[in-house]
């Protein structure tokens, strides 16, 4: 039963299934799956009539056969709690999830959460090997399994990662794990010009060292990182960070190599943080994308080699930026004094075009309430959107699950606009 806040908090997965089935046959209220509430601002706003269905009580570790290097957990497990359990066995999920102490694994999967280490280790789609979900009409289904290699049936794990809670309720996931490194280091260097950084990034892509993260920050992001981590990072227009992990021998050897390469590439000063000192840096770098008080947060993805151009353009437009530079994934926060959606769109428009020209896309991840309609949240439609809409319709023909929030809503909007014009 929904409690008096209107929230439904099932204690078990079958209970969730029964409630969804009853809702689909009865009241047919729109349903919004809720995990740790760290990413609910993504996309379009939720229908205010929605019942929030929270996974907070679905928090069991179902099975952790450490020697198989897999773990099966319910969707409501906090990511940090999972990582703690894995650490005891010298293992981890090498994906950075923002606000990991609050975020649930189900929410992380639904929003395809990731951070700096995506350069070295990929993203959640590379680790979810099995999934259990509930459809909006309460059917419980699974795909994949508990073994690391498996091609039986369609890979619905991939479909659910990043589906934004719009296709089905994720109730349980099985993850493939990696060994925990025993040592890590992060080097920071400042640069005056984008061209210098661009050349250096080109060189780093063939370095004998194998960084697991390459981060590029504008001055605003750099200031925040310095303050949060309480580390004396170099100060300059562009701050570049490279991180390595492994055993102490590997790490020291790579620090040596990278230090030389960064200096040869024009860095005047290189600062290294090691082991325990990197902890706060990692979490700040991971959480930065959530954006604090910024009225609008954007995310661009593009060819990695175009990252620096985009970062420079964003800085010039007053945007605070952090780039996962090796991947071409960039987070930006518009200035606090962006007064309205029109002003925001003036800043975003040219960046959106630049992202498109660079083989990618820009989306608005979060904005002030009431600005959604004036901002183009998902940007211009891509060729595969109609198919996404068909997939959504198969799972949720009546649009009861997270209605109006995803790309299918943008498609609907487009076709409505088209009709209006006729």
């Amino acid at each position: 039963m929904p409690d008096n806040t209107g929230e439904m908090v099932p204690a078990t997965i079958p209970e969730l299934g029964r409630w969804l089935a009853a809702n689909a046959k009865g009241d047919r209220r729109p349903v919004l799956p809720v995990g740790g509430r760290t990413s609910l601002g993504f996309g379009m706003p939720a229908d205010p009539a929605s019942v929030e269905v929270a996974t907070s009580r679905l928090d069991r570790v179902v099975d952790y056969p450490a020697r198989d290097m897999t773990v099966t957990v319910e969707a409501g497990c906090r990511v940090s709690a999972i990582q703690e359990a894995l650490k005891m066995e010298g293992q981890r999920l090498p994906v950075d999830v923002p606000l990991a102490h609050r975020a649930t694994i189900g929410g992380a999967v639904a929003s395809d959460a990731g951070g700096p280490r995506r350069f070295g280790f990929g993203t959640l789609r590379d680790y979810v090997i099995g999934i259990r979900c509930a459809t909006v009409d309460g059917r419980l289904f699974k795909a994949g399994g508990r073994v690391v290699k498996n091609v039986a049936g369609y890979d619905l794990c991939k479909l659910m990662v990043g589906s934004g809670g719009s296709l089905a309720f994720v109730t349980e996931v099985t993850l493939k794990l990696k060994p925990l490194p025993t040592s890590s280091a992060m080097g920071w260097a400042c640069f005056d010009s984008g061209d210098t950084v661009s050349d250096l990034l080109g060189d780093l892509s063939t370095s004998r060292a194998r960084p697991v993260a390459i981060e590029l920050l504008g001055p605003k992001a750099a200031r925040q990182l310095t303050a949060e981590s309480r580390q004396a990072l170099p100060v300059g227009p562009l701050l570049l960070g490279v991180a390595v992990e492994g055993n102490p021998v590997e790490v020291e050897w790579q620090v040596d190599v990278l230090d030389r390469e960064l200096r040869a590439g024009g860095a005047t000063d290189v600062t290294w943080a090691r082991d325990a000192d990197t902890k706060k840096l990692w979490s700040s770098l991971t959480d930065y994308q959530l954006g604090g008080e910024s009225p609008v947060s954007i995310r661009a993805c593009l060819r990695p080699s175009r990252t620096v151009d985009f970062v420079v353009a964003a800085i010039d437009a007053g945007v605070a930026v952090q780039a996962h530079a090796g991947n071409g994934v960039i987070h930006g926060h518009l200035p606090d004094d962006t007064i309205d959606a029109t002003t925001a769109e003036e800043i975003i428009g040219p960046l959106r075009e630049l992202a498109a020209k660079s083989g990618g896309q820009l989306v608005v991840e979060r904005c002030e309430s009431g600005w959604h309609d004036a901002l183009s949240i998902w940007g211009p439609p891509r060729g595969d959107w109609p198919l996404m809409t068909s997939v959504k319709r198969q799972f949720d023909p009546d649009g009861l699950l997270s209605p109006g929030r995803g790309i299918e809503a943008a498609m609907q909007q487009l076709s409505d606009d088209g009709m209006d014009q006729q």
Partner: protein, 491 residues
């Protein structure tokens, strides 16, 4: 061929008019319709079930593929894509007859971009040709199925192929960034692209491994991976299969993820040694091929740890490949092991199951028992580090009674994989071979949801009917039935 009447077995032959249309589109050279030529296409690497298509087409452009598909739909004829035909699950079997679309003439490398670490290729490109093309650049395409000398990138995408090195680097789906697909209605759609992390559903990830049932892939953007700084290749020699599998479990449990961890048992060693003369000890019960890679400063240490773990499990000896030639020969022996099986038996059936890695000792014991119980000789060569077994069941195709025993043993082994918490296929796919297992692995609801996803891509069911899901095609395709449903083909 010219008749429009249904054939006695109920399949619908391709009409003459259709053939004229195809010849106009592709030229005579792009259309195969003579019975004796079609024989080659009656099966793939899964030889137990056979059915020739009515026609095989060889398009050279995406537009042609699209036009073929539209034409098939116009005439209500099913179609099935085919790469090199090395599928071991009957993925290329033209269930219900119809049109086979061979992608082998679309084999160009369209772009290599090292800066952004991707390559754009056509689906008919042979996997190894991409590897060769990239040699010396410092980058490679990681998925390396043992069949890489023949199989195509399009086939790899459709089956989500693995290979020895996918233990550390991940299977095909982890290395595909974008796809161009001719949808089952003929539309050309692009999924994903050169940038990672595009918003919306991961249709690339969903398409990979869909075994030709979601459309025809006509272009692939693959991710390129840095070559390792250094590697060490080891060969562990064991007195018993149990010792070997224990060693494998110990290595994984110690938190070491080698680049590759492959096992061959005595039966295979014998055949491989006769074929390539590497110098394998013929009296060893099993050998384990182990490759570690990483930084030069770290690989020796990791190799030492592995050697120690092998010794603790009773390895008779652990050899190192001292030269690049030795390493290459070792890998050749492993990857071409299947080719050597001809020395052991006229026919063989390669099974593909998965168990949690700690269950390897148990499943291998079971395989030995199953072989003995059913009087079938079984040899093993497989991706041990992933828990992905490949028992190879030897038989003589002419002896139906033997075939029946092979099926029974296979069934039991795969059933055991399920019981141990594993799967009935790690990389070869469901195809037609393993349809019956789907209901053992999945519930009705699971299968319904999968069927509904297929409806979004392939609502008419005309693209690769009768594959992957045990349900019949979709609406309008009820007339398509397998000419030899399942294993009756052999009995």
């Amino acid at each position: 061929m010219a008749s429009t009447q249904p054939a006695p077995d109920g399949t619908v032959p391709v009409a003459t008019e259709l053939l004229i249309r195809f010849r106009r589109l592709l030229g005579d050279d792009g259309v195969l319709a003579a019975e004796d030529e079609l024989i080659v296409y009656e099966c793939d690497g899964y030889v137990v079930e056979k059915k020739a298509p009515d026609v095989v087409l060889f398009p050279t452009t995406t537009e042609q593929v699209s036009e073929i598909v539209r034409t098939c739909n116009e005439f209500d004829v099913p179609f099935v894509p085919r790469g090199a035909g090395t599928s071991l699950a009957g993925g290329c079997l033209p269930v219900g007859g119809g049109v086979m679309i061979s992608l082998t003439r679309m084999k160009s490398i369209l772009e290599v971009n090292l800066q952004d670490r991707y390559a754009v290729v056509q689906p008919g490109l042979v996997n190894l040709h991409l590897t060769r093309h990239l040699a010396g650049t410092g980058f490679h395409y990681a998925p390396d199925p043992s069949s890489q000398g023949a199989c195509t990138i399009g086939g790899n995408v459709a089956t989500n192929s693995g290979g020895p090195h996918t233990l550390k680097y991940g299977v095909t789906v982890n290395h595909v960034l974008g796809l161009e697909v001719v949808m089952p209605d003929g539309q050309v759609v692009e999924f994903g692209g050169v940038a990672e992390g595009l918003a919306g559903y991961d249709l690339v990830g969903l398409f990979v491994g869909s075994e030709g049932t979601f459309g025809i892939c006509t272009q692939v953007t693959v991710r390129l991976t840095r070559d390792p700084d250094a590697y060490r290749t080891l060969l562990g020699i064991f007195e018993t299969v149990g010792d070997a599998t224990q060693a494998i479990s110990q290595i994984i449990a110690a938190g070491i993820v080698p680049a590759a961890l492959e096992m061959m048992d005595q039966g295979i060693i014998e055949a491989v040694e006769a074929a390539y003369g590497f110098g394998f000890p013929l009296d060893a019960a099993a050998v384990v091929l182990i490759e570690v890679d990483g930084l030069e400063v770290a690989v020796d240490d990791e190799a030492e740890r592995i050697i120690r773990l092998c010794q603790e499990q009773g390895a008779r000896e652990v050899r190192r490949a001292e030269t690049e030639q030795q390493r290459a020969l070792l890998w050749k022996c492993r990857k071409q092991a299947f080719g050597a099986i001809g020395r052991l038996s006229p026919s063989y059936c390669t099974q593909d199951g998965v168990v949690p890695r700690t269950k390897l000792p148990e499943i291998l014991e079971f395989i030995t028992d199953a072989g003995e119980r059913h009087g079938v000789r079984i040899v093993n060569v497989f991706h041990a580090g992933d828990g992905n077994i490949h028992p190879i069941l030897l038989f003589d195709e002419r002896d139906e009674e033997q075939i029946a025993r092979v099926f029974r043993a296979s069934d039991e082994i795969l059933g055991k994989c399920i019981d141990l918490g594993g799967s009935v296929t790690g990389e070869h796919g469901i195809g037609v071979e393993k349809l019956e297992f789907m209901e053992r692995l999945f519930t009705e609801d699971d299968l319904d949801v999968m069927a509904s996803v297929r409806m979004a891509f392939n609502p008419r069911g005309s693209c690769s009917p009768g594959k992957m899901l045990p349900t019949a095609g979709a609406c309008g395709m009820e007339h398509i039935e397998r000419s030899h449903p399942g294993k009756q083909a052999a009995s």
